[in-house]
């Protein structure tokens, strides 16, 4: 609906006159500016200053610095963990959602799984990290049980406090998130499409290859991107479980708490770099989401 639908708001020149009803959204805008947009802009400004406050782009150049514990390593590890858990979580979540929706399993399992996924996708941070420590940490319940049974998983190279351990733990909130976002898309696969393809002699493989997957593809890719962003921004879980694994959110946390605070400008640049990566992921997600809505009723 155009702004002039209720009359009185356009002049002959076509310019919009000041519309007093815009004042109604001022409280929201003031709040968002004060506690989100201005603080975020502060980081942008800080990232473009050196220690004396003069303009510089050196902080961004420093982001690519090599070395153990450095920003480049942190970004690469963060991206790797997020990508691995996003793809694995997307595949597992899709399979699980498909199993309860179209796999011929009892109906009750579906609502149970959906509720549980709602809980599990919110069960992140400190309690999640602790739960894995008690289960698979070096003195965790299953580690000890297996050790008593003669299998020492820590001798065979497994370590919970590592990149792989972090991925295992992140999957715990990635996988249910995928179940929640993919379920409506699986619901949207209409039975008649499958029946029509079967009537025309298509095999199960052909149905998936030429009908179901092309329809689901934008949703699947979009959901994977959302999962990527979900893992990329997570800080508490990693900080509790494996503070020595160098990922971007933990490195920023260390900069803030002063552990390695040699260069605040670098901290700001690190933060802006993260926002940029998250922004690209979320933007691509919303584009794909819009595409996939064509097939949903």
């Amino acid at each position: 609906m155009p702004a002039s639908a209720r009359g009185a708001s356009s002049t002959r020149s076509g310019r919009r006159r000041f519309n007093p009803s815009i004042l109604g959204v001022l409280p929201f805008l003031i709040f968002a500016f004060a506690f989100l947009i201005i603080p975020a802009s502060y980081l942008v400004i800080g990232s473009l200053q050196d220690k004396t406050g003069a303009f510089t782009t050196q902080n961004y150049a420093d982001l690519t610095k090599d070395g153990v514990g450095g920003p480049r390593e942190a970004y690469l590890t963060s991206i790797e963990i997020s990508a691995v858990t996003a793809i694995a979580g997307a595949i597992l979540g899709f399979l699980l959602a498909y199993a309860v929706i179209s796999g011929g399993l009892p109906k009750a399992l579906r609502s149970g799984l959906m509720t549980f996924s709602g809980v599990a996708s919110n069960f992140a941070g400190i309690p999640l990290a602790l739960a894995f420590v008690f289960t698979l940490g070096s003195n965790g319940l299953f580690t000890v049980l297996l050790r008593d049974a003669g299998i020492n998983i820590y001798d065979s190279g497994f370590k919970l406090y590592s990149k792989f351990g972090l991925e295992l733990v992140y999957l715990y909130f990635q996988f249910p998130l995928m179940v929640l976002i993919i379920a409506p898309a699986i619901d949207g696969l209409r039975k008649d499409w499958r029946e029509a393809s079967e009537n025309m002699g298509a095999s199960t493989f052909q149905y998936w290859r030429y009908i179901a997957l092309p329809i689901l593809l934008p949703t699947l890719m979009g959901s994977t991107l959302l999962l990527f962003g979900n893992a990329f921004g997570a800080q508490a879980t990693a900080f509790q479980l494996a503070p020595l694994v160098n990922i971007a959110p933990v490195l920023i946390g260390k900069q803030m708490s002063g552990d390695v605070l040699h260069n605040p400008g670098l901290g700001y640049a690190l933060a802006i770099g993260m926002v940029a990566i998250m922004g690209v992921a979320i933007l691509a997600y919303s584009v794909l989401q819009r595409r996939s809505e064509r097939w949903m009723r």
Partner: protein, 264 residues
């Protein structure tokens, strides 16, 4: 759908693998917590710890204030935009989605930078830091609250309701309070429970603002005690479970989907 037996078996296996991955850490934590002497000591000790009560109570109060502020900002805004400024809606929606792009660690970094020096030195006092914490949580709640309220508004005829109230002589406050809020009860509550699930147990922002909330408390005892943190983790899981359970219960009547939150 007529599934062949063999493929149904495959889906059962997929389901059971998924469920055991979900269940193992919870079972592991539970049985680990029972290794204390006597077996319930982990739970009784944590329940006796004043730090547990104080931090949990603090987080709950912060959560409730967050919900109240978030409702007071989002509901009138979403209502007003639908009624008077539909062209503004994509922009407002964009702003409410920004917290997905600015993760908590970045948000608190920015807040500390902005409010640790004049003119607004909020971090200097406890009250100021509490205000910052609530403000940050309100920002985190925006995507969930706005989406819940906006989809709720879609199901009611805002214009007719407003005009009917106005012709009966109601002012804006009365329209909001006696017409819009009651009609959006389900949406508001679902946004509220989701916010509560996110806020209680939040760690990153609370830690960097130096607040003694439940998340930092759990992290602290996680580092120096054995059975109490196991009990605490399960209690925290239980709180999330209750919040999400209430959300599904409320949402059952309306046709809304269970919403999705991000990780911390």
């Amino acid at each position: 759908m007529n599934q062949p037996k063999r493929s149904r078996l495959v889906w059962w296996v997929v389901f059971l693998v998924g469920v055991s991955y979900f269940a193992l850490p919870l079972l592991g934590t539970f049985f680990f917590s029972l290794q204390a002497q006597p077996i319930y000591a982990g739970y009784t000790n944590i329940l006796k710890d004043p730090g547990f009560y104080n931090s949990l109570l603090y987080s709950f109060i912060v959560g409730l204030i967050t919900i109240a502020v978030s409702i007071l900002i989002i509901v009138p805004t979403a209502f007003w935009v639908r009624l008077k400024l539909p062209w503004l809606r994509p922009y407002i929606e964009f702003i409410t989605l920004l917290p997905f792009v600015v993760p908590p660690i970045i948000l608190v970094f920015g807040l500390l930078n902005t409010y640790s020096h004049p003119p607004f030195r909020l971090t200097a006092s406890n009250t100021g830091s509490d205000v910052l914490l609530v403000a940050a949580y309100v920002i985190l709640s925006f995507p969930y609250m706005y989406r819940a309220v906006d989809s709720g508004l879609r199901t009611i005829d805002v214009r007719t309701l407003t005009e009917a109230s106005q012709s009966l002589g109601a002012g804006w406050v009365r329209i909001m309070w006696q017409v819009i809020f009651p009609n959006l009860r389900v949406s508001i509550l679902s946004g509220a429970f989701l916010t509560l699930a996110i806020v209680v147990g939040e760690y990153t922002i609370a830690t960097f603002l130096g607040r003694h909330a439940f998340g930092p408390y759990l992290s602290l005892i996680g580092g120096n005690k054995a059975y109490e943190p196991a009990a605490g983790s399960l209690i925290s899981f239980g709180i999330t479970w209750i919040a999400m359970g209430l959300l599904t219960l409320i949402g059952r009547g309306s046709r809304q989907r269970v919403q999705v939150a991000g990780a911390r």
